[in-house]
Amino acid sequence: MTILRLGEHHAFEAADQRYLYLVPSAAVFALDAPAGALIDALSDDPVSRTDLIARVSPQFPETDLDALLTELEQIHAVRPAAEPAPEMPAIIPLTPVESFPLTTAVLNVTNQCNLSCGYCYEYSEDKIVDTTNGAQPKFMTDETARKSIDLLFRESGEVKVVHVSFFGGETLMNYPVLSRAVPYAKAQAEAHGKRVEFNLTTNATLLTTKMIEFLAEEDISVTVSIDGPRDMQNRFRVFHDGSGSYDVMLPRVRELLQRHRSRPIGARVTLTSQVNDILGIYQHLTEEIGFQEVGFAPVTTSPGRDHALDGSGFDQMVTQFKALADEFLRAALAGQHHGFSNVSETLGEIHKGVSKAYPCGAGLGLIGVATGGDIALCHRFAGSDEHNLGSVTEGLDRGAQQAFLERNHIAHKTDCHTCWARPLCSGGCYHEAHTRYGTTTHPNLHYCDWIREWTDICLRIYGEIAERSPRFLNRFDS
């Protein structure tokens, strides 16, 4: 007699339809009424197959419940109780690690900045690397930029499209080098028979008409770090003398948005305990300034800092995220664009059924290059000896990469093993974990509840769209 129990899953409802999000496969299935009844009947304790069918059959005498149970077993929504959950295999995608291609290099073209934002992870108390008196040069040279690009192409294997990101410090403080790196990368792409795409993150205070012209001409995606209306922007995003940056940045951003239309220009907002009016910020950035995409992220900081979001801060954030996500849903059902990119990114991952062994591409397909040419996990670790993966001169240290990937695999994050949201979260940002817990291997336990709540919100939106306007989801197919 087979005793059955439920497999790992998260159940949700949307548009009067019941769904299962299965873990760890990340598949989303819609259930009909008999399937829902079987799931309900199993939700308390394991039951034998015969008892289970006997319990549900009075409700659905016409249904072949045995066949239905087989379907549920095939998708692992129902499993034999005696069988242990399958073990999480580690390091599957990386054998051999040498053949794992790079797709993205983030070039920290400078570690200097003309602002001194109070929460900056690069300069504040939580910084990892001494960017003022440390060993790394303040600006990347042409030679290092070229070597970084060479390394990216050399290590990109069969990948057809590679990405070069420019980051800082304030990226535009080293505009000369980045403006020469772009044509160099394009020439290399042609020589290798590949395509290269660029993006750049900036605080926009140094943008000139000439730079805007260059960004538009060269088709470079731009993300502007900006916190919202004047009072919120000026709360943390200030110059070295303490004066706010809003009035300096605004006319330049407007000019950028007007001239550069080939790529969506995104805004990236840092949420703190003081700057957290998400609906107001979104409305200001889209309607009053004209951004097409706005993404929000809570500040990365060690606990107890003045600007850190605490429990109630996270709750408030989720409530507002939910309200803005509802706006997104209404727009999607009407076939219109909505620029709340936190939702569209999560929907894209849900649609594909992404199930991550690692929270992001850092150290996997993405590397950060420090100003001096040291390779790091990502731009946030640029220059850190502890997170070094070689240098653009010596080459990518595949041994260090392998060791990092083995250490940081979700299989070792035991706290995550009972969490249904792990296919999408996989423990969260390495840098956040390093700042909070002192190591990249630690899952970000301080925002688990928030991640689960947010994933549930996005799953409901996904279910609602799948039921009422499925064609909208085609945009996530590519």
Binding site: A35, E71, H351
Partner: protein
């Protein structure tokens, strides 16, 4: 699947894996009888011929002959009837015309094949 609808792409792949498209029938040794032919008539190629290089006919995965993909007895007839290699069987024209008369189906009746001494 009848009761579950795959919604995202991963679900579609799982559903496809659970209900694979029906595979083609194995027709190699099936009799065609009076029904429609299982596969179009083609040139006769002896099964299990070392010249046609069909791995698995000499020995099975364990090195024995119990699980061969074609029965060993098959080549006894294939080689001297359909092909050009009669040296391993008795001379049926003159010396032993009836040596297989008790063997209606080689797979079943091969033990009934007469021992022939020259």
């Amino acid at each position: 699947m009848k009761h579950l609808t795959p919604i995202n792409r991963k679900a579609a792949r799982i559903a496809a894996a659970a209900n694979p498209a029906p595979a083609g029938d194995v027709v190699a040794l099936q009799e065609q009888g009076s029904g429609p032919p299982q596969q179009p008539e083609g040139p006769h190629i002896p099964l299990g011929c070392s010249l046609a290089f069909q791995p698995g006919w000499e020995a099975d995965r364990n090195g024995g002959t119990a699980g061969l993909c074609s029965p060993v007895e098959r080549d006894l007839f294939d080689c001297h009837l359909g092909c050009y290699w009669p040296a391993h069987v008795p001379d049926q024209l003159n010396h032993a015309p009836d040596w297989t008369s008790k063997c209606a189906a080689a797979q079943k009746d091969w033990r009934k094949i007469d021992l022939i001494f020259p």
